[in-house]
Symmetry: D2
Subunit: 334 residues, 4 copies
């Protein structure tokens, strides 16, 4: 049985606590948060779980096998490194670290010590992403030509990372997982309305070999919440609207065949050429599935869906996007 400690009892920490507490394959031993006041309701609701304001209590407790880190991004590296050095497996919130160098170091360290380091890209475990993955792998969609995502709402402003570091990890990880390709270059633009040089609106374009383009629109300052991704394949196209309660995924039997350049007149393309199919998605909590994946990685050496190298790629692209924004949208080769 894996024994787990969770560090950070904020919004996401609560979800982690609920899922690891209820998980049949592990024991939630301790929850750490620097703010003792946050831990009081936890103690009432989960009296069997220990609480502490000191991370050392976790590091020094040899009965704890694994540490789950749900703190602000800038603290991930130090906390994860300390856990690995203490011989514990690590699950760390996305994005894995603030810099590519840090992510590489953690992965190297885990490898040396034969420990699991796993980023928490929970979105990959949702029924919607799993369904899209299976359709793409079964070649129902055809070669992917574009991926276009809008992820905007009136959201949490963060003071240590910009909106891309906050929201784009979802899109980058989904893109990486679905198309299984790495971009050769990226560009990003954005604006900071806060005077602190931290963009609250940003746009990221990822360029791939072989006719694929991906574009992500991220904002903390939209009056409406939009979570929408379009995926265009040679055979079919997918609209993934995560705000829909039941019809999250629509598969359009739609395509566009292009005539030769000789013809100088317009080519009329019908607005919707075929039927639409809305697959039923499994109802499960993605976070629980992610927790299981972490446990199986520790116990059985299974490679998790949300694995270290995928997390590394996400950080690589985020770091490059920041360089691009600061250079006026300059293309950055990866």
């Amino acid at each position: 049985m894996i024994t787990v400690a969770i560090v950070g009892y904020g919004y996401w920490g609560k979800n982690l606590v609920r899922n690891f507490f209820n998980h049949s394959e592990c024991v939630l031993h301790t929850v750490v948060d620097g703010d003792a006041a946050k831990l009081t309701p936890l103690q009432k609701q989960f009296p069997t779980v220990k609480t502490s304001t000191r991370y050392e209590d976790v590091l020094q407790n040899s009965s704890i096998n694994a540490v789950v880190i749900a703190t602000p991004v800038h603290s991930h590296y130090a906390l994860a490194k300390a856990a690995l050095l203490a011989g514990k497996h690590v699950l760390v919130e996305k994005p894995m670290t603030s810099t590519l160098r840090e992510a590489e170091e953690l992965i190297e360290l885990a490898l040396q010590r034969n420990l699991v380091i796993m980023p928490d890209h929970t979105f990959l475990y949702t029924g919607a992403v799993q369904k899209m993955k299976s359709m793409i792998d079964a070649d129902e969609i055809g070669k992917i030509k574009y991926l276009d995502s809008t992820r905007i709402n009136l959201g949490l402003f963060q003071s240590d990372v910009n909106v891309l570091w906050d929201l784009a990890p979802h899109d980058i990880s989904i893109c990486n997982y679905l198309v299984n390709k790495k971009p050769y270059s990226i560009q990003a633009t954005g604006i900071s309305h806060t005077g602190n040089d931290i963009e609250n609106i940003a746009y990221l374009t990822m360029n791939f070999e072989s006719d694929l383009i991906a574009h992500f629109n991220c904002s903390w300052t939209s009056p409406v919440k939009i979570r929408q991704m379009l995926i265009g394949g040679e055979k079919k196209m997918i609209l993934f609207n995560d705000m829909e309660p039941t019809e999250k995924i629509k598969v359009y039997d739609t395509g566009y065949s292009v005539k030769s350049d000789d013809d100088k007149t317009r080519m009329l393309v019908d607005y919707r050429t075929g039927d639409i199919y809305v697959p039923k998605l499994p109802l499960h909590e993605a976070l629980y599935a992610m927790a299981t994946d972490f446990i199986l990685a520790i116990r059985d050496g299974k490679k998790p869906v949300s694995n270290d190298l995928l997390g590394l790629e996400v950080v690589r692209i985020l770091e490059a996007s920041q360089q691009s924004i600061k250079q006026g949208g300059k293309e950055v080769k990866l």
Copy 2:
């Protein structure tokens, strides 16, 4: 009474014919199209309107005061120039010309001859844009901080201009009209899936002084039709969804106040802080209002909403965007 000829009887030409034919302040004299077959149904439906396959018939007819050009973009310049040289006022489909140089030349020529040259940015005359303009001018929205537009569908592929030239004129002209500012630089990225180097998906970012950013997402290859623009002001935010039959504009009493950088923790911003207001929009046909504006410009010297300089700015930005795309998204100063 203004006497009008229309050149080009395609999709938009039909709308122009209907509106100029029914307009109380002008007479529709002739419709020209190179394809005689297209003119047959016109003759049946409008037996009082002359038809011709030769543009010279219009140029040489001194009873025709004004020419309306609704042909592919690459032909705008030559047709408009000929009309101006023949002493006729000109209304030309958006975008005005294929190059900035051509637009400047036409404007110069019209000025010399004391003729009207007007681009047809019909969208500016819609109830929705007029309502947004009046709210912004009345300072109900506050200083505009961002404008974000998505204009995608499975649309007409054109073989002479890319998707930005086709769709972005709407967004650029609306942005120019609403905020009354010019960008200092732009960036654009995109992809061509047709092998002819004409982008069918493209993204354009416009950078302005004073904290404003505009971003346009244009595609001919989306399975769903989206026409959505978000406008964020310091006081309120607007969602303009042109696909909504009646509730096209929603005004959100929403804002975000940002705390100082000292605070290193997250700032929680509520998803929707105030009420929403959905103004009733006037029901009128925008194209009829545009036709009226053209007639009044000729007759009374009124400066049209969709005027030559606005049309020129649109072409300037389109030309720059093409340069940017071809240089891998490089920032182009204007």
Copy 3:
């Protein structure tokens, strides 16, 4: 070639004129309306069509074969009867007549004179209804168990007939066409907010043998326009939302199996048990197809989809519903 006259140039009359004028299989000879002012724009747009304010001009013109009646309901009977007596085929707006007796008389008269009398239930010719009909006939939906329609908006108040006579003909005719069964009884309730005893809100239930129930909710006094019909079959269920621009029909692979009554506990039924399928619908104008059906009925003796007996059933149910409302919702046997 069939030569047609249209009587009544109101909202629907304009649509009829456009479709019969453009129809390849007939000639639109004359349009009659008592209000000469309404005919002026018609003369401008269709100079080849004669106009008149006198119905006699049509009746006495032997070159006219067929009369299309698009006037208020209370005048249908007299106008149709006169046309039949003058030897002309008749197409009459829905509902066919104000009373069952009148409808029966017209049908009898047409039969005697070997003329076509056809009600205009245009809705039956839409791509959506045709698609549903073909799926039901192919037994894809299974035995129909319920049909539930909401047809409400801030609509035209009529002073001669209540909201059921105005709106329910659509639902009753669709129901009759799709399930091909007649109800054995109906009930209706409603209210008049106008002081003239003409209901502006009304509800109609139709009871069928064999487990089928149909319910129609009609209102002229809703702030939103809703056109929604649910059809539940033993195999699948259909949602027909006519306000959707493209996805009018959704077919749910959904069912409910019911356990025996012994079990006194709740039975959990999943909210959506299967995939959803959104068929592509043909793009055609229903009114044109209806006009064709009328012409073929005259020319070839083809039985129209919207035929006299279907129109008669609609009037029978409307008459019964009025009796029911006036008796406090009493069940009326048919």
Copy 4:
């Protein structure tokens, strides 16, 4: 401090446990369920709460002041009566009882013993209903003319009560609370597809003096979940769509003025005559507010929003609706 026991640990029981456990003004002492297996996860999550499979343990424990009953409807009466006889205050799930007689008896008994008996119509405590109530009470909506509700989904089939008993209590209680009037008669129709004479689809019309009509459409057999209520006032109209995540209430500045009956022609009413207003609703859990109301009723003698007489009216209408259905939709006077 009030000490509470909860009887029935099903779907709703879990919500009750969470809210009473976390409530600052009471102690959750015991949870009873006949099925011991259901209580195991409760013991793990709430180790301080006692569990039992015997209701007697609650009745005989003098430290328990109040009993919350969340069992199937047919058991409400016996359980509530026993609790009252044991001197305990009672909160009982809606509908209060299976018959009017039972509800009257419980209210009488509570009165004699000076105990609180309160039905749990939680919906009345939602932000949406509270907002509508305050607008109506402030006369912003005007005199209410109609209330039209659709509450359908693929839901829980119950084997002891029909769909009206299951779903209509929400609508009837909201109607009663908002308009503060009692209907003089009702009619209901419906159908049972299960062979057990328990309707899974039913329609209820409530007739009021003074021009008000209410109609409820309830179904367990819809492929889509609809929770929509239209409320038409003389000044404004409200659309309450409970499936909307944030814009649950839309207030339409819409009305219809009716011309005199003399005029035999149609009166054109614009589809939407004014602006729409979407008020921000407070974010709170309705169930917690209901729990507070129960506690204050016990402690301070406050009359709850969801009070015994309102609960009685709901049962009166449900009982009458059942009579009406079984008599073919006959009007039942109240």
